[in-house]
């Protein structure tokens, strides 16, 4: 069940990320252009933020999945009586 969920998620997520990976490559800096978080990206630390958000989002989604299953169990129990 868990493996099934994971493989389905990865199978869906990968093509989407590949689509934008071409866009990542375009990120080139120029001095006279508006300031963007280039330094943060070069030092690699933006990935820390991405990971933090992914962890928080995963936690919240996992909580919602568990809540969903608990309600399903409750529904089955009520049906049986």
């Amino acid at each position: 069940m868990k493996n099934n969920l994971l493989s389905r998620a990865v199978a869906l997520l990968l093509p989407l990320l590949l689509l934008v990976s071409t866009a990542f490559a375009q990120a080139t800096a120029a001095a006279d252009q508006p300031e963007m978080a280039d330094a943060l990206r070069q030092s690699g630390k933006i990935y820390v933020v991405v990971l933090v958000i992914v962890i928080i989002l995963s936690g919240l989604l996992l909580y919602l999945v568990r809540l969903d299953r608990k309600v399903s169990r409750l529904e089955r129990e009520i049906e049986g009586r």
């Binding site: 989407l16 689509l19 934008v20 933020v49 989002l57 919602l64």
Partner: protein, 226 residues
């Protein structure tokens, strides 16, 4: 678990990753905050869709009253309000760092705030009526008023206003510039679908819990009568 819940998980994780790492055009003042497009704007998309579902269920209730339709309308309205409040909070924060103020008397901002107040009154109204059928009927009628007030406040008045800071209307070149960016669209549309599905998911779980509660209470009532 239904398929669209897996889709919601994937789209939200994709939004978080691609939304922060993907390409965005270089714009003055906005800078990296334009990535808020993937998080702030879908709140309003989701809110509108879910409040629309709420009013549809209210109309269905008035045509054919049942506790089930009342629960659907009520729980949808609650999720819609949650998304709207999050939209106001994120919008205010975004305004602080791009317009330099938490709030201005902008037609779009005030329209959104008034909409939230109208919907908070929906919850107040429900809380004030003890009788279940009366509460359901009154709040269904009020919900129609609330939705009919929300649409002009959010989508018509800002568009006919002569000036506004908020993108999506005349006088602001910012939005159209990055709205046309195809790399941002690739994240923005999945983000809208993902966040809306999350709102629908939360509503679904809340409704199912309310249905179970309803069932237990009717059973207890039957026992007491017997």
């Amino acid at each position: 678990m239904k398929w669209w819940k897996y889709l919601a998980i994937v789209l939200l994780l994709y939004t978080a990753i691609a939304g922060l790492l993907g390409h965005v055009p270089r714009l003055a003042i906005l800078n990296e905050t334009e990535r808020n497009l993937y998080f702030h704007v879908p709140m309003w998309f989701g809110m509108t869709i879910i409040l629309g579902a709420s009013v549809v269920n209210s109309v269905r209730y008035l045509r054919n009253p049942s506790p089930r339709l009342d629960i659907l309308a009520h729980e949808s309205a609650k999720t819609g309000i949650l998304l709207g409040v999050l939209g106001l909070m994120t919008g205010s924060l975004w305004a602080r760092y791009t317009w330099g103020t938490w709030w201005t008397t902008d037609v779009k901002l005030n329209g959104a705030a008034v909409t939230m107040l109208i919907y908070l009154a929906y919850l107040v109204l429900r809380g004030a009526v003890a009788d279940e059928q009366q509460r359901a009927r009154l709040s269904a009628i009020y919900n129609i008023f609330a939705f009919s007030a929300a649409i002009p406040l959010l989508f018509i008045m800002p568009r006919i206003a002569s000036a506004s800071l908020h993108p999506g209307m005349g006088g602001n070149p910012g939005f159209s510039k990055y709205d046309l960016d195809s790399a941002m669209r690739l994240v923005f549309y999945p983000a809208v679908i993902g966040w809306t599905l999350l709102g629908v998911w939360i509503t679904e779980v809340a409704c199912r819990l309310a249905f179970v509660k309803e069932k237990i209470y009717t059973k207890l009532d039957e026992k007491q009568l017997a």
